[in-house]
């Protein structure tokens, strides 16, 4: 097994874990976190593909690497926007969830 | 020599990983923060060791940036304690 394969498997598990957390966790903040896990896994997969494309004296293919850099910055701006939305909802309702405030049984 | 440095990096990573039990156990949030702080320092040490052992270009620069941002999470934690 090469290191690239190892990190590739790691990225596969990360994507799965992020997806699961995003589906199952009810709190928006946790969903944002899971989405970031999912994104990190995807980026890592790009990194593995880049590593396997090492050529021309470079450690990896620069094109996927550059795409990942763009991706990380875009993921950050999406996270910042999502967190701002969440905090605004929280300001309005006093609750950090998207549920209606009234029912206690739904909890 | 590279083998020794790689081994040291692995040992530090594993030890810091054990220290992460503090994130799980808490009990207080400052304890969790401390575990991350230790992980940060250990991560920097492992990065330097790995970087020098396998002569990765830029590893020391990444360590420099990590060191620069090492206090960041703790500062935000403490200032939000003071003014939520």
């Amino acid at each position: 097994m090469t290191p690239a394969t190892l990190y590739g498997l790691c990225s596969a598990v990360l994507v799965g874990a992020g997806l699961y957390g995003m589906l199952v966790n009810p709190q928006p903040l946790r969903k944002i976190l899971s989405l970031n896990l999912l994104g990190s896994g995807t980026f890592l997969l790009f990194g593995v593909i880049a590593r396997r494309g090492a050529a021309a004296g470079l450690g990896g293919d620069p094109v996927p690497q550059a795409m990942v850099i763009t991706g990380i910055v875009v993921a950050f701006s999406a996270t910042a926007l999502a967190v701002a939305l969440l905090l605004r909802v929280f300001q309005e309702t006093g609750r950090p969830t998207l549920d209606q405030p009234a029912p206690k049984d739904g909890g | 020599m590279p083998e020794f440095l790689l081994l040291a990096a692995t040992v530090i990573l594993l030890m810091v990983a054990v220290g992460l039990v503090r994130i799980l156990r808490g009990p207080a949030d400052v304890d969790r923060l401390m575990a991350v702080q230790l992980l940060g320092t250990g991560g920097i040490a492992a990065l330097l060791l790995l970087g020098i052992a396998t002569s990765l270009p830029g590893a020391v620069d990444v360590a420099l940036v990590l060191a620069l941002l090492a206090a960041f999470a703790a500062v935000i934690f403490v200032t939000s304690l003071d003014s939520p």
């Binding site: 590739g8 596969a12 890592l44 094109v63 990942v68 | 692995t10 990983a17 590893a59």
Partner: protein
């Protein structure tokens, strides 16, 4: 070599353990702290994948800036879940109920959340609803379905990784071929600034859009004001010392990272994110207040980076080279100039994204500007 694989294995185990922790942690804050640690280790993983540029970005943006936003958010949500019983020297923090009650001063303008807002101006009635740490987990069948789906996705990706073990198709040759003409040695910077410059330009636009989105969440009452609930007093000696010592070093490192980006890992994003961190630190220590978001100067500065990029790109139409291409003779100075402007504008936009929407009304003088 097998020893290196051992180190990789330890790193992968740590990364995965933290990822599971982020999903499973009981409290939001514990999960966020786990995420910060996760980002830090991911930077190491990128280093091991011979992607120094990405490692720098992950360290500065993925772990640093994202972590800052998430930690701040978790702290705010936590303060609501269980307000500190006694906090000597500090008045009881204003609770969100209080704030939303304030928000009702201008109904209609605030819109949207009115029927969700708590009825009384301030009451503890919401204390006994489940806090954000519990909340409705979906039923067992749904969780099983999610598990199966995630498992399938993981298995699919893992199969892909194992099945295509050979060398991947690569554009590395093509990317390095023209680098000498651009006067650069770092292929990743070359791709970002020269070959795929359109992506980078559009990414700036995405940052601007996100900032617009965040700012549009400002309440009408405080529109044009400053971020952060209140001005942070400059009181904490250790923090002030750090905020005075670190930024000069940070600026030097940022310039270094930007400069070295032409030949080695580094570049505008990484340098910009470092500057952002320094700026946030200065704001948090109370040495400088956050700028009012209504200020025209601020808005011009925010737009300057993408505008400069676009101007250089459009100049390619006038000169015979084409949109977003550089005349070969002055490519390197031009690229460095574009990157320098980009760095400043990225630092500004990232910092404003971390600071969030305005929460204090603007001064009367600022309102007039």
């Amino acid at each position: 070599m097998s020893l290196a694989l051992l180190a990789d294995g330890a790193l992968v185990l740590l990364v995965l353990g933290l990822a599971f922790w982020v999903n499973a942690a009981a409290s939001g804050f514990a999960a966020v702290v786990g995420y910060v640690a996760f980002g830090l280790l991911l930077a190491l993983a990128w280093m091991r994948l011979a992607a120094g540029d990405v490692a720098l970005t992950e360290a500065a943006v993925g772990s640093g800036a994202t972590g800052a936003v998430l930690v701040a958010a978790a702290m705010r949500l936590r303060a609501a879940a269980d307000p500190p019983p006694s906090w000597p020297g500090v008045s009881r923090p204003s609770t969100p109920n209080r704030r939303s009650a304030d928000g009702r001063d201008t109904p209609g303008h605030d819109g949207g959340g009115d029927d969700l807002a708590p009825p009384a101006p301030y009451s503890d009635s919401h204390r006994d609803v489940p806090g954000h740490d519990e909340g409705g987990k979906p039923g067992l069948s749904l969780r099983l379905a999610a598990l199966v789906l995630s498992g399938l996705v993981t298995a699919g990706l893992a199969g892909l990784v194992l099945w295509t073990a050979g060398p991947a198709p690569s554009l590395a040759e093509a990317a390095t071929r023209h680098l000498p003409g651009l006067g650069m040695g770092n292929a990743v910077t070359g791709v970002l600034i020269a070959y795929r410059a359109l992506d980078t330009l559009l990414e700036k636009v995405v940052l601007l859009l996100a900032l617009g989105g965040v700012w549009s969440l400002t309440r009408d009452r405080v529109w044009g004001g400053r971020p952060f609930p209140r001005a942070i007093p400059a009181g904490n000696g250790a923090l002030i010392l750090l905020a005075r010592l670190l930024p000069p070093i940070g600026i030097v490192v940022a310039v270094y990272v930007l400069w070295v980006g032409a030949t080695d890992p580094g570049g505008a994003f990484q340098g910009g994110a470092i500057l952002t961190a320094m700026w946030i630190l200065v704001m948090l220590a109370g040495l400088r207040d956050a700028p009012p978001i209504g200020s025209r100067r601020l808005r011009l500065a925010v737009a300057a980076g993408p505008a400069a990029f676009l101007a250089v790109g459009l100049a390619g139409f006038v000169l015979p080279t084409g949109f977003l291409s550089y005349p070969e003779s002055i490519a390197k100075p031009l690229i460095i100039a574009v990157e320098a402007v980009l760095t400043l504008s990225i630092a500004l936009i990232l910092g404003l994204l971390v600071a969030g929407p305005a929460e204090r009304p603007p001064d009367p003088a600022e309102r007039l500007r």
